[in-house]
């Protein structure tokens, strides 16, 4: 091992200090607002759940619609993710890009796009309305907005999860007598399940925190993100704080689940 000159040691030491400082400021920037919100209003938010009916309803509605969107995302997104992970076909890159598209456009724009397709004046929205199904301005509209903006995250993560399972496991299952569907159910699905659950949790978390698309498609009934915005613009920061804190606490649930999945023995998430 070669010995460093004193001047070089000083330069290396100074560089380490600068890097550590930059990293600390960056982490502080990410954590400080959320920590401040939770410490200053977290307890009040939990307390207010007992007295504030609108907050309770918004919390329940947020959890319910995010869950519904996640279930729909899993049902529709899993085959798409599997197809993209496992099969070479013409147009695969285009389909992958289309699936990712909602992630790239501003969310209010996503809401406007949804309104164009599902609004009462659109062909689809009008037809649904004639059947008694209202999308814009309803709970269903919230689910649609959440699904639209968060499903690409699920598809992307699920695709990665399938791709990590070596194709040869399926090949062996096939030679052992399984048709494709049974090989998927008995081998690929169990081996990628943890990754799929993690992908669903991420999708749920993204759906819970969605605001831009929901506020365009369905302002009422209010989910937590819309309610916190509404309280902020109508009554100011003190009234918005407990709602915002409740939203943060709700968002922590998936984080805890993800950590638990990661620490559990067995396959990596």
């Amino acid at each position: 091992m070669t010995e460093q000159s004193p001047s070089r040691r000083v330069v290396h030491g100074a560089a380490s200090v600068v890097v550590a400082l930059c990293a600390s400021i960056f982490l502080l920037f990410l954590v400080a607002p959320i920590a401040e919100l939770v410490t200053s209003a977290g307890a009040r938010g939990v307390q207010q759940l007992g007295t504030d009916g609108e907050l309770r309803r918004a919390l329940g509605l947020t959890a319910l619609t995010a869950s519904a969107a996640t279930i729909l995302g899993v049902l529709g997104g899993t085959p798409v993710a599997y197809l993209l992970a496992r099969h070479e076909f013409r147009g695969r890159a285009i389909i992958a890009a289309l699936v990712d598209l909602p992630l790239l456009i501003p969310h209010p724009v996503a809401g406007i796009a949804l309104l164009l397709v599902l609004g009462r004046d659109s062909a689809v929205g009008g037809s649904l309305l004639s059947m008694g199904i209202r999308v814009a301005g309803s709970t269903l509209g919230i689910v649609c907005a959440m699904l639209f903006v968060s499903a690409p995250l699920y598809v992307s993560a699920a695709r990665e999860s399938f791709a990590r399972v070596d194709l040869r496991y399926e090949a062996v299952a096939r030679t052992l007598g399984d048709p494709p569907w049974r090989a998927f159910r008995r081998v690929t699905l169990p081996l990628s399940l943890r990754g799929l659950v993690a992908a669903a949790v991420v999708m749920w978390a993204r759906a819970v925190s969605e605001f831009g698309a929901i506020v365009v498609l369905t302002y009422n009934p209010k989910v937590l993100s819309v309610l916190s915005y509404d309280r902020f613009t109508s009554f100011g920061l003190p009234q918005a704080l407990p709602v915002a804190a409740a939203l943060v606490l709700l968002s922590l649930i998936p984080l805890i689940i993800l950590r638990a999945l990661r620490y559990e023995r067995g396959l990596d998430v």
Partner: protein, 359 residues
């Protein structure tokens, strides 16, 4: 029976080209090739897990080209086993088993009973290979495809499992195709040897014929033939020369008496070669070394000095330089001691005309 007709398949940039060979029903075929020659890809194409670009796969006499893997009645063992990690050893063996009894029988015969309750993660590489073999056999396949199935086993276990698989192959009348890069294993197991390199079949046939009569100098070198000499053929006579009398006809491969000149050496052989440039292949175990010329029926006899002695366990390779041409002979290490062979010792190297193969 496994029969491939002009099979081509592609994986990424690698391609199998125009593969044709047939392993008759109940026989044990061995595919030999270096790493990256396409051995695993070939088995995957036969198993139906890799789509073909062209060609036909005949299994058991029927066209299986369009059949999905689950309907090909075959077992497939990958080198790394690919045991299902979410299942126990017992569950892996039972996965596609023809019956519980079948699973129990192969578990006992492959000697993995003691592993039954273990999870796959806790197994060593060798144990995984054993369980993978048991899992494939438990389905009672008519055809068994083995991809370097014994590579992670210790030598003692390898011999035992190899023997058991060979016994099951005979008892059940399975057609087996095994991939290996081990020539000894190929010679021990195979009724048929298929040489694969660069995605092409170089030569196939009975192992003895393939090893003794390589179709080209490249194949000879590939098979580890120690003496591959470039030179010129001159046909001496178009009739059977006296030194082939009584030799099995399949070994004589033609009856022309041939003189082969390489450098300052002149060898005599028999065969069907014509006048012109060629290569002579002499396997090291064909060359006999002796201190005195003695009485021998060998048609080729040269005197030279030993320039290298390489001992590997019971076998020793001795290089004798004859007028600038090195000839490598394989002897038992004991013989080397008994003959008192040392570097620089002058010896006689002799080999029969039938020990020289021209290609």
């Amino acid at each position: 029976m496994i029969e491939l007709r002009a099979l081509s398949a592609r994986v990424g940039a690698f391609e199998l080209h125009d593969i044709s060979f047939a392993v008759p029903a109940g026989q044990y075929g061995v595919v030999i090739g270096p790493a990256g020659s396409g051995k695993t890809t070939l088995l995957e194409a036969i198993a139906g897990v890799l789509p073909l670009r062209s060609g036909t796969v005949m299994l058991g006499g029927a066209d299986a080209t369009m059949l999905p893997p689950e309907r090909r009645s075959l077992g497939f063992v990958y080198q790394h086993g690919y045991l299902f990690p979410h299942l126990s050893v017992e569950e892996n063996v039972a996965y596609g088993a023809a019956s519980a009894e079948s699973a129990r029988e192969v578990t006992a015969r492959i000697s993995v009973e003691h592993l039954r309750g273990r999870m796959v993660r806790s197994l060593s590489g060798g144990e995984r290979q054993l369980v993978a073999i048991a899992r494939a056999l438990a389905t009672r396949p008519k055809i068994l495809l083995l991809d370097e199935p014994f590579s992670a086993l210790d030598p003692r276990r390898r011999v035992a499992v190899r023997r058991e698989v060979r016994a099951l192959h005979r008892e059940w009348g399975m057609t087996v195709l095994q991939v290996t890069h081990d020539f000894t294993e190929a010679g021990l197991l195979g009724d048929l040897a298929i040489l694969l390199d660069g995605g092409r079949v170089l030569q196939w046939g009975a192992p003895d014929i393939v090893f003794r009569h390589p179709a080209s100098p490249y194949i000879a070198d590939f098979l580890g033939a120690e003496n591959v000499l470039a030179g010129t053929v001159k046909v001496l006579a178009d009739f059977a020369p006296d030194w082939v009398e009584g030799a099995p006809p399949e070994l004589s491969r033609g009856h022309r008496a041939i003189e082969f000149t390489t450098g300052s050496l002149t060898l005599y052989t028999v065969g069907d070669a014509a006048d012109g440039a060629a290569y002579a292949v002499i396997r090291a175990d064909e060359i006999v070394l002796s201190a005195e010329p003695g009485a021998t029926s060998a048609r080729n006899r040269f005197r030279g000095a030993i320039t290298e002695i390489a001992t590997l366990g019971a076998l020793t390779r001795v290089t004798v330089e004859v007028d600038g041409t090195p000839l490598v002979a394989a002897l038992t290490t004991r013989s080397v001691g008994e003959l008192g062979l040392k570097m620089g010792t002058e010896v006689w190297a002799s080999f029969k005309a039938l020990g020289v193969h021209l290609c």
